[in-house]
Amino acid sequence: MPEQNGIGAYAAYLPAYALASNSLEGAEPRPGAPVRSVAAYDEDAVTMAVEALREITAGASAGDRLVLATTSAPYDGKTSAGIVHAALGLDPAVVAADLHGNRSGATALDLMVRAGGVAAVSDVRMTRPHAPDELAQGDAAAAFTAGDAAAVLLARTGRTAEVLDRWRLPGERHDRVWDERFTAEVLVAAAREAAQRALADAGLDAADHVAVASPNARAAAVLRRALGGSGADAEVERQTGYTGAAHLGLLLAATLDTAEPGQTILLLSAAEGADAFVFRVGDGVRSARAGRPVREQLAGRERLGYGRYLHWRGLLDVQGPARPDAPSPAAPPMYRRAGWKYRLEGALCDACGGITTPPARACASCGGVGADEAGSVPMNRVSLRDRVATVVSVTRDRLTTMPDAEVAIVVADVEVEGTGGGRLNAYATDVVPEAVTVGMTMRPTFRRLWTTDAIHNYFWKLRPWEATTNDD
């Protein structure tokens, strides 16, 4: 455990797409209008949490707990954090649990800061087409591990106010919202109290950085003004939309990206009450970030057309090719092959140094039979998850069952030092199919391939490596 409660490492994940216009007539976006961050059709709260967490848990311990906060869990009943746990290859002793609801992002952060472990906050916001706040909602994830390199917690306060602000019945796709002028009053009152108490507990009159997250945009605007924020949080929000349970974490990550060691941060959530945190930025904040800064990710996104967005979200029912649904996976093989499915582990042959994917008892290169139980050739597992792959051949499937007219599929080779390398056959993602060429470099990314028979099929795809290469 760290000597002081706080944040050791952090990362934010923004999907590769942004929606700037929701005009059905194809009108250009208004200058300065909000832009919405859009998860691709193969992303959800689980996959984005994996992408946010994969860098910061690669070398570090996850403590004893992984908490995932979201309002868009891909399953009711089944725990989403368990899937994230599997994809990250965390120790089975790390307990994985979900938090749900509009306040869950703040609660996850609180749990992690005060009790250790890792927290992921991740959300996909589903608004009804042309809802007033359609472009003001968005998709993102952020992740944090306990420690004190990035920030130390100085104070933490909360208020609970049971108010009908934003809600959704089980099975419904879209939130309902009460008149925000009413709820803003309730939320602002709770949040001001929480903020003042937190600042007082921290012995401060004001903080160097203020970041406010609220599902009620009016409340957020009032609080930002009242607390003397610079508006940097609002600027991020204008480019992503309010990202639900992820938003407090996203704004914290964006603040840590630029804050100087020793500065203070007031982090405030106004949802169903209020949650306030005061942090002092740690000396190690510059090296505490994994992945790219929030602003760099914002700048690198591709603009998405409204029709494609609606199709991706299932909000527009489009006739596909006359093909059967992709098959649903079955529980026993998913469990038996978890190392491959979730961690992308191949079998490394001690005899010839070849890597066989999916892992098998017999080496695909030399035919030697491995020694999982008994045999002559030891086969070790090697994860290809964080490797760079080079495209050997590529095709474009125009009869795809996915919600895009065509999808690139590649065969790619992975170099692993001291081995013969391994081969991946995978869907490409976050890329225009014609841009994928022989010789291109790509990197695995955890995605939801398809959902059949109410089973989400998670596995790894490949995305162009250039898109993530600036990480290092």
Partner: protein
């Protein structure tokens, strides 16, 4: 073992093949009855009671030997159902051959059938066992289209030349199919029609793909020394090999998507059995698995008809046209004759049988003595491959 002579040489003495196409009015049972009926009609005095054992190949149309036993109401007969992807028809033939070659039976029948058009789906579909969901859900054209960029890169073939070779394969096979009353598409097509067809996968358009169709075929096989008891013009099996690939091409590095190693091995073995030392000059005609146009281009090299990296040029030069040095897919191939999975391998034999007997009419290859039937399934990197050499002389 595969290069060793069998205990008995065998011969095909009769064959039947339905037209391939959209048989909306016929069931798989009907198609089998038709193919078997045509086959038996050329063997007067012989009835199904005289056939000792039967094989039936089908991928998804039915299960067990009853696929054949029921429509024919066979009583007290052994019937084996086999499946090996798109090489299912050949697998039926191969196992039937072994029944005679081993001495177990005197007269056997190989059949194959597929009913694809009763589904409303595009292309092929298969019911697969429960799995972990990590396999790419390739369409067949997507899997085979991987050959194109890899082949171009390996041999420095430009887009225009490659496209030209693919188009030539399609145009040639449709021209051949236009001369065949049993073919699914009996219409010649222009290069423009091929190249303007809607794109399906990678550079492949609809007109680069084989016809999805219904059909059935059948063959009667006996010991070579008995063949003349049944027909004046038996066709002899000179060599035969089958390889089920290890799938390493998709599971490990090394395979470059410019060849079907399974076909290369099967061809070498079949040629050795048949005494073929230079297939490019000794083979009169070949039926090959043109499931997609690039498959046929690559196969010309795998079968030893063209030098490595040169098949695209030979294709463009017309070497494999009906009037060329080595006519390929004289009946129209999978491309225009159609591809009902379980029947295709036997359909290839049917054309070889017809040509070697000099009965191919307008399509007849002059002085046809030695024919190759090559059939494969799966996809590049993970395929099953069959090669047979058939001859008009023992």
């Amino acid at each position: 073992m595969t290069t060793r002579r069998m205990a008995h040489d065998v011969a095909i003495v009769a064959m039947g093949c339905t037209p391939f196409g959209d048989h909306w009015g016929s069931s798989a049972d009907d198609l089998l009855v038709d193919a078997v009926g045509e086959c038996m009609a050329s063997l007067p005095g012989l009835s199904l009671d005289d056939i000792d054992a039967f094989w039936v190949g089908t991928q998804g149309t039915g299960l067990s030997g009853q696929v054949l036993a029921r429509p024919l109401r066979l009583v007290g007969k052994p019937v084996t159902r086999v499946e090996n992807y798109c090489a299912t028809g050949s697998e039926s033939f191969r196992n039937a051959v072994f029944g005679v070659a081993s001495g177990a039976y005197d007269v056997v029948m190989a059949t194959g059938v597929e009913k694809l058009k009763d589904s409303s789906q595009s292309g092929l579909s298969a019911v697969l066992p429960p799995a972990d969901g990590t396999d790419v859900d390739w369409t067949a054209p997507a899997g085979f289209s991987l050959l194109v960029p890899a082949y171009q890169k390996a041999y420095g073939v430009g887009d225009r030349d490659m496209r030209g070779a693919l188009t030539h394969v399609a145009v040639k096979n449709h021209a051949n199919g236009a001369l065949n009353r049993r073919a699914q598409f009996q219409k010649a097509v222009t290069p423009e029609v091929v190249e303007r067809s809607p794109r399906v996968a990678g550079p492949l358009g609809v007109m680069d793909c084989s016809g999805v169709s219904d059909g059935a075929a059948a063959a009667v096989i006996v010991r070579a020394e008995d063949a003349h008891k049944y027909t004046d013009k038996p066709v002899y099996l000179k060599g035969m090999s089958f390889v089920a690939g290890s799938g390493a091409g998709l599971a490990a590095t090394g395979y470059d998507f410019t060849t079907f190693p399974e076909v290369v091995t099967a061809a070498e073995e079949a040629y050795e059995q048949a005494g073929v030392t230079d297939p490019a000059t000794q083979i009169s005609l070949a039926e090959v698995h043109d499931c997609f146009t690039p498959t046929e281009v690559v196969l010309m090299e795998d079968l030893g008809f063209s030098e490595r990296g040169k098949a695209w040029r030979d294709v463009l030069d017309g070497r494999y046209d009906l009037g060329g040095a080595l006519p390929v897919n004289t009946d129209g191939g999978l491309k225009s004759f159609g591809h009902p999975i379980g029947a295709t391998g036997l359909r290839m034999m049917f054309e070889c049988f017809t040509q070697l007997r000099g009965e191919a009419g307008e399509r007849q290859v002059a002085d046809a003595r030695l024919a190759v039937a090559q059939n494969l399934g799966g996809q590049p990197g993970s395929s099953v491959a069959f090669v047979a050499v058939l001859g008009s002389e023992r």
